[in-house]
Symmetry: C2
């Protein structure tokens, strides 16, 4: 790699900075955002383009408009301020607004305050000495000084009955006028992390809201002004646009030469992080930059132009504010309108959804409007959910069902995937696959065959979802079996539409491989396959009852079907095909004895029956290993992948096969080829997402849960499977460092019947009272309702509930989830006890 | 909308600029790019960051390195120069290099040249008067002056045997030192369009290459330096990064305060357009900006730091070039290495693909390595294909099979979709659908129901591809039929796994609805359904032979099945379901008589047999209308959409249904619901792409082919269907304004048996010699091989060939394609005649 040339900055400083950026993968919890009034973030295409002037102009337009009713409150928050106390943007508003109020002869009274919460030692000393205030060493708090200074002002108006208010706050301040990451590193040792900033900002956003709402209606507008450009690093080194706020934004653009480019690029960086920008505003420099900007934005985002600032830096700007008043009025109106339209849409969404959607696996009659979840966005493992209880707000819920088991990305991977999706769509869109090659498809195939297919697979066949991957696998297995067993001696000479022999699948009861007819035929009869759902289903298989394993009362139990544990099925999918028999094992949240599976696979392979692993759910670290072949100690002939394959961003599936399977389709005639394909086979976006995710999950640099030398996730290990005694000995070490909680407490809880904890999954079957299984479901449903209030989004599978995280999820977060679950179990238990005793 | 405040620029100028940007949707043809030597584009995060210094430094490192062998050539191209002749970046290199050569005591001879091709009148006059050269009015060429000035220099070295060469060229120059779009508008009336720039640049890139290669090996490095920032408008107003070059790039970043943000945003704008950046380089300003940049780039792209420039603007920079020599050497080496790695990868790709891929519908034995197409990128309707014939290059091929009929976007929509994909992935990733609502899914459902489903559909059910959409439609139709015909009187009381009655589909012969088993069961027996491919197929339908329509010898012909036109099938998909009969019509490239279909639909609906339209291929303007319900004059109960639904970027499918169909699934039990679903149901990326594309295709502002008042594409119309006489009268007006070509010439060509031209499709069945259908296929294959040489990427369907464009494709481009096709038909015809006469 390159050696950089270094110049007039000292080496030790570079080293410190490098250390700061070494662990820049962050997992800050996103923020609950109040929505009872508009809150906007002010972004800028570069430094010194006038963000604070825009904030000040908005505050004056909002508070001082003659037509407006009084009793308004404008909240200005500056989370990060450098160059303090010389530069203080919150103080700029605090000092400008009284002058503007007097100049405009604002009739109502105006109360103003300016606070500064925390600052570095240097900034604190400078500030205190400039004000002749004493330095109090006890106000030190891990290298930041708890300044908590507040100044106030009051302008009495003619109409004293109405009072407007300006609240200005600086959250964190440093003395040097450089980028926050440099100032923070030099002055406070980099201690102000993203979580601290988010937490403090959250507190300020909610501050006083309860009482505001109690006090009756007061119009509020809140502004959060960023520091520097959109992608300038904050004090921790994280880029400001990477922090998980997703407030709607105003972009202050650049009217100078070169400013079109900078403004467009800044806008794109915001879009690439899922931000909505409601307006672009910039200072005029006579270059008519608004025309190309409006063309680029296709008039969907308004572009506003502010008059040129006076050249004289001593100018008090009063005339400039007068001149730009109309622009700020327009900007303010745009912001208020966008807010009310957004709220209206969010309110209407559940009703619209109930009218237009046809949700899968959902009885619409059982989903009232108020049960519909409005998801405003997702950030890593968390949904941002619109809630309208006492107050409107956007709350956070951990996606504990991993959105039907597809999800893997943490917040950092999600942003990387977003950039890759943009790049791949721009570079390739989609291009046709057969007889072609393009980079994402080739890289994805290479990674699949070197990863989950390592040691056995030699070909990758792409499709769109698990169900189609299974249909393809079946077609491959049929051919391979026919080939090996001389079913087709000389098929090209014959009428190939003739039925030679009846082929069936050998599979496991309780299995599930998807909803298309071919995939359904390979699973045992169930309500999903009945006449009501699929009148064409016949069940072309022999379905075995496998032994299963689970934890109960802190012990691992092996449950054999002969012992009438007949309802127990499994979680691992193996599929084996045979001429007149069919076998198949697939799953909900049951764990089939791996030893049983291994022996079954070996037996089939001994009889030249091709074996299919359905790893659609289990692949890519879902169970703590990249492929469950590692757990079973044997390999298939064919395997199917989907869900986590793309990291959880986009549908793509792959069917891998051995060379021997592939060879049974090779010949001189096209008719011998596998005549199956979907329009978007190996689409570039899916392949690019898969390539990124496969690498990301297994790299200890990006996935801190990986134990590199052992190729497993940290939170999970099977110590020993004693194959010689034909009885597996499991030493499964729980989910995510929460050993005691799962082993000792949850698995032995009196409401719990069965626990399976493996990799990213912790599934819990609740006790059904007597033979009433429906009771368990109802119990599960009300338990999960409570957990949603705790910020945990779960869905029941009958009376089974489960928590699922991503391969990179932080162990601390997962432990918290389990604790919440345990607390709710305890609570329910008590309620039930009480009811019984009554 | 907002009124902008205008200041010191005159109103008429704004109006002119607005006019310039009004039609900024452009369709420039992308460039063939030579790959026999490295060519890089130099980008910048802003103006005045030192792009030209980087170019000069690279030229000196490449040409003057003592260790390097001589006989090298460095080509420097500056396509757009403003501020000319005072500012001339090509002249900067031309004058600096001799000084550096002398200073470094370069032993070989050095030949230098500097040219300027075209300039505005002002720039030309300034330039000529500064050089005392005469102004020649005849050199005017549509407001640009054909300056074509060239200056030369030669530095004789000690070793006269070896000669190195610096070639500098400015392509277009304007006098005023402002953004090119302003200068071009003021000085040359905006006449320099994107096509002109691309064409001229292409000529310069290829200039002398033939002779270079003939002259033997000479090492060449070529640099194309952009103007301003990455997203600065060029002379036409198009953003420079939007021009379809996709050369690998060097990004000159910003080392100043705020420069981290600007550099990251510029990098992201390039990635959002599919560009690869091989290195970032910037001038040091003491702020250690490289550390956050390296962290952001995760060390995958090298970041290089140049020493600070001297403050004194009169400095000749010789010392600075000395100081920065190592950095430029590193940068040059990175560029040469990235080039050779890229070429190596491109060369290896066909082999790797043949080893690892399992292509759908492909007999691998029939695809030799040399037949594999290496697709480097796509831009709108064009593939960029790596070719290694006499010289390596990236050539352009029109994707005339629309990548299995999925494609719709032009270059502009593709870039918009890319930005939307990035935004949606960042905002949502994927979120779970059932019982939830989120904006892209809701907007997509609204647009579907207001668009293709208007007037009949009330619910949208999402899945991943056409095949699953059909399986869902079948399940819906089965239920609806059972409901209407009392097959399930009280199903919830019964064992629903019991078979009540046998349900079949009524369909049309030759139909094709996808490759999953359920979809296959609804199509007539064919090689695709035989034992060799799908041993479980039984064909649960009654398959009708429909009448078809085509053009032959300039006339439209109605072909009835009774007349033994038995091989003729159709292009329009209708599907009707019945208790013991099944109906279904699906297609290759045959056009079923719409009147027949309409009557069939009405009859079925009269008998309460639900009707399914399979619009997976035909929907969204493929046939010139948004939905073929408009052509048939009747509506279905259920319809399936896919392919073009997302504009062709990502898989998504939708099954729409009437309220009556939906109601047959509503009840108190979840078991009555439609228990079907795929993991990524209604995934946010797909829904966002669909929402954008649906709007884009039907908006006359973005799709210039739309005739708004008639809701059809301009190139296609059915004038009259005389339903009263029970015989359709077709007046089909050809494809894309090429009426005469298709009607008169192609349809009456002696090699052509049948033509179907409708909307974006022109399908041609070639004559089979006698009863030898295989002959037609071979003929088609060799014809298509020739057409690939013409830059048209087509695939045969047996002896049917077809051209397919997108709904927004330019009619001119389509006419050119048809002409190429006609010319090749003529050519083949002559060869065949000759062979016969021998």
């Amino acid at each position: 790699m390159l050696r950089l040339r270094r110049h007039h900055y000292p080496d030790h400083h570079r080293r410190i900075l490098l250390r700061l950026f070494h662990h820049s993968t962050f997992h800050p919890q996103p923020l609950d955002l109040p929505l009872c009034h508009p809150t906007y973030q002010i972004w800028s295409a570069n430094t010194s383009l006038g963000k604070t002037l825009v904030s000040a102009g908005l505050s004056s337009s909002f508070l001082l408009s003659p037509a407006s009713s009084a009793n308004k409150k404008f909240v200005y928050l500056k989370p990060i301020q450098t160059g303090y106390p010389h530069d203080s943007d919150s103080r700029f508003l605090f000092t400008k607004l009284p002058s503007l109020s007097l100049r405009r002869k604002f009739p109502s009274s105006l109360i103003l305050s300016n606070s500064i919460l925390f600052s570095s030692l240097f900034a604190a000393k400078s500030f205190l000495s400039s004000r002749d205030l004493p330095f109090q060493p006890e106000k030190f708090n891990s290298e930041m000084y708890d300044l908590n200074f507040r100044e106030e002002n009051r302008i009495s108006g003619e109409e004293d009955s109405s009072v407007s208010e300006l609240v200005c706050k600086t959250l964190f301040a440093w003395e040097e006028a450089v980028s926050p990451h440099l100032a923070a590193e030099r002055e406070s040792g980099g201690v102000v992390g993203d979580s601290k900033v988010i937490e403090t900002l959250g507190k300020c956003l909610r501050d006083g809201l309860e009482s505001e709402i109690e006090r009756g209606k007061r119009e509020i507008l809140c502004i959060v002004e960023t520091a520097g450009g959109v992608a300038s690093p904050g004090p921790s080194g994280s880029l400001q646009c990477d922090l998980p706020f997703r407030l709607p934004g105003i972009l202050v653009g650049d009217g100078r030469l070169g400013g079109i480019s900078g403004t467009i690029s800044a806008y794109e960086s915001l879009k690439l992080r899922g931000y909505d920008v409601v307006a672009v505003v910039f200072e005029d420099h006579g270059l008519v930059n608004e025309v190309p900007l409006m063309s680029y934005l296709r008039n969907r985002v308004p572009v506003l132009v502010l008059p040129p600032l006076p050249q004289d830096s001593s100018n008090d700007l009063m005339e400039w504010f007068d001149e730009s008043h109309n622009v700020f009025d327009s900007l303010k109106n745009i912001m208020l309108l966008a807010y009310s339209e957004r709220i209206q849409r969010l309110c209407d969404m559940p009703k619209r959804a109930g009218e237009l959607f046809w949700w899968p696996f959902t009885q619409h009659k059982l989903v009232p409007e108020e049960a519909v979840t409005v998801i405003d966005s997702r950030c890593g493992e968390n949904f941002s959910v619109y809630q309208d209880q006492k107050n409107k707000f956007i709350g956070q819920q951990f996606d504990a069902c991993a959105s039907w088991w597809t999800q893997g990305p943490d917040a950092t991977l999600q942003i990387e995937l977003a950039r890759d999706m943009g790049y791949t769509a721009a570079r390739f869109g989609h291009v046709m696959f057969p007889e072609n090659v393009y980079e994402p498809a080739l890289e994805c195939a290479e990674l699949l065959l070197q990863g989950v297919g390592k040691g056995w697979a030699s070909r990758a066949y792409f499709s769109d979802n698990g169900s189609t991957a299974i249909e393809i696998a079946l077609k491959m297995a049929f051919r391979k079996f026919s080939f090996d067993h001389d079913v087709l001696v000389d098929f090209l000479g014959k009428d190939t539409t003739e039925k030679c022999v009846e082929l069936k699948v050998l599979a496991l009861k309780g299995s599930y491989h998807g909803d298309t007819l071919g995939a359904m035929e390979a699973q045992a009869p169930s309500p999903y396959t009945g006449f009501l759902q699929q009148p064409w289903y016949s069940g072309r298989g022999l379905f075995l009852d496998p032994p299963t394993v689970f934890m109960y009362n802190s012990k691992w139990i092996l449950s054999l079907p002969e012992l009438l544990y007949s309802e127990i099925v499994e979680h691992k999918d193996i599929m084996v095909r045979h001429c007149s028999t069919v076998v198949h094992a697939a799953g909900g949240m049951h764990m089939v004895d791996p030893l049983f599976q291994r022996i079954l696979v070996k037996e089939c392979q001994n009889h030249k029956i091709p074996v299919i692993f359905d790893e659609v759910f289990t692949g890519f670290w879902r169970l703590g290993v990249e492929t469950t072949a590692d757990l079973l100690g044997c390999v298939p002939d064919i395997a199917c992948y989907g869900k986590l394959l793309t990291g959880g961003v986009i549908p793509l599936a792959a069917t891998l096969a051995t060379n021997a399977v592939f060879d049974s389709f090779v010949g001189d005639s096209k008719l011998k080829a596998l005549l199956h394909g979907h329009s978007y086979s190996a689409h570039a976006l899916g392949c690019a997402a898969a390539a990124k995710s496969i690498k990301w999950f297994k790299d200890p640099q990006t996935n801190h849960n990986i134990i590199p030398e052992r190729r497993i996730l940290r939170e999970f290990c099977i110590a020993k499977v004693d194959i010689n005694h034909c009885t597996p000995i499991y030493v499964v070490k729980n989910l995510v460092h929460a050993a005691t909680l799962v082993d000792d407490k949850i698995s032995s809880h009196r409401t719990v019947q069965r626990v399976v904890a493996l990799g990213t999954l912790c599934a819990i079957e609740l006790q059904a009272a007597g033979c009433n299984a429906g009771y368990g479901s109802l119990y599960a449903a009300s338990l999960l309702k409570k957990l949603r209030e705790d910020g945990v989004y779960m869905r029941p599978l009958g009376n089974v509930i489960y928590l699922m995280c991503g391969p990179c999820s932080s162990p601390e977060v997962c432990s918290q989830l389990l604790l919440k679950l345990y607390q709710r179990l305890e609570e329910f238990d008590k309620v039930e006890e009480k009811l019984k005793s009554c």
